[in-house]
Amino acid sequence: MMIHGEQIFFKSETLPTFTERGFQPILKTFCSALDELELQPLDTIEGKSIRLLRDGVERPFFTAVFKPYRTEKCEKLTICNCILMDRILTSAVIAIPSDDYDLPMLVLEWSETESVISVVVDYVPLVDLVMHDDYRIHYLDPLDHYWTKYKELPGMAPNRFAWSRMMFSPYYLSGHVPKQDEKNITACLQLMQDYLALWLDLCTKAEPIPDDTRKQYVRARKARIRKIFRENDEGAKSLLQMVGKEIIDVLLLCSF
């Protein structure tokens, strides 16, 4: 990864950082962690071309790039960076494991204005945690240290939406963190970095699901989770009027 001017050259792709507008180098944080992965760019998802967002789109009040990749253990790992109305930077990494693996889905979302950084971070479990406490112990409890460290950040609060709370893990964090204090900004960047690094480590160690029954269950649950995200994603809903259905359909395909 190289930073050149205000752009990042990442896996032979050029991504705008928007740091020149006073936003935090969140994209650099994400890309640094992903730099070592073998990423294969995707051009189509579910039979549909996603070039509209892959190559970057510019509309009045909306500039965005969505880069979905395939990795050895993920059917899709997407990094995105958008700027809305020149005022809001949104950046995210979302990773969905392939059907052979049951590791949790990674969701890291960053939304920044002049005064606030809104964050959502989670490892969305692909099983019912009450019935599979071994899953929680293996994939989620390693987050405890980070969750404990960041849960007291100012502005942290339960997520507003029941549809997301029902899917999220015991280690999700969300909130609107004020930027007045430099310490808060650093902590938000570090939070993203820590959740991403640990997930990548779990991904490296993940073994294929050994039995077909569990595989089928995980696949069904993963499909439900993606459907719920696609139907309810608040960012997509609020952008629909501004950018139109064509872009939103591709955005949701790239993300979930």
Binding site: M131, T148, M156, A157, A220
Partner: protein
Amino acid sequence: MSTVKFEMNLALPVLEDFQPLQLPEACWKILQNCDLEPLEEFEGINIAENREKVKEKMEEMDSSMVMHYFQSEKIEKLCLGWTVIMKSIVVTMFSGWPRNDYDFPASPMDLVESEKHVYIGADLIPLTDIVINDWYREKYLDGFEPLYKQYLDLSDPTPNPMNWFRALSSPYVISGRPDVGQNRGTVKRAAECFTAYIRYWMKEIVAKAEPMKDPAHKKYVNRKKAKIRDEFRRKDPGGPPLVMSLGKELAWETVKLIF
């Protein structure tokens, strides 16, 4: 099952440090006309004998505990009662569990009140995988959303520190330690919230429940209920103080009755 009308004395004693809310009585007012029958035995534990042993032990510790257990056509066990610890902390407990033919959410809750602090834990815990079965959430839980939002400020901004608790919670859990507030106003709101959960559970959830028909669903629900119960029995933070007061064996017996 016949309907038995009976009087219930759940009045809390007068305390020196503060005047606790008569929350157990308020809860009973919601339940008293709900066709409940006293439960006499559960998992081989004789409830009258347990009550006597607990009373004796609690008195030795300058504490007291009054627990009542009920059942109904759909409810396997409903527990309502209170504990006064060292004459300074009042714990109101409620827990409701469906019979094995029903899949409605379980509702173990408590409200802890002292002179300076209040804690509320209230939830409607799903007995199925609500990510897969969205009908369950729609049928039993989503109607609660307006009440949840009304009382969400009672929840801590930071989630409950117990990971096992967060793992089994519904999207509508309230868990928090708010300040008692001016004139103990927040304690009163917490008590209102507590009774709102009970009222909703009884009047909207239990009332709507029908016996399960799908054997696979039934098997899952009963396994999950057993797991949830086991988590509360082994990990609820009320356990260790109970062991100190009652000794290990009697505490375990009592925890099995509560959850």
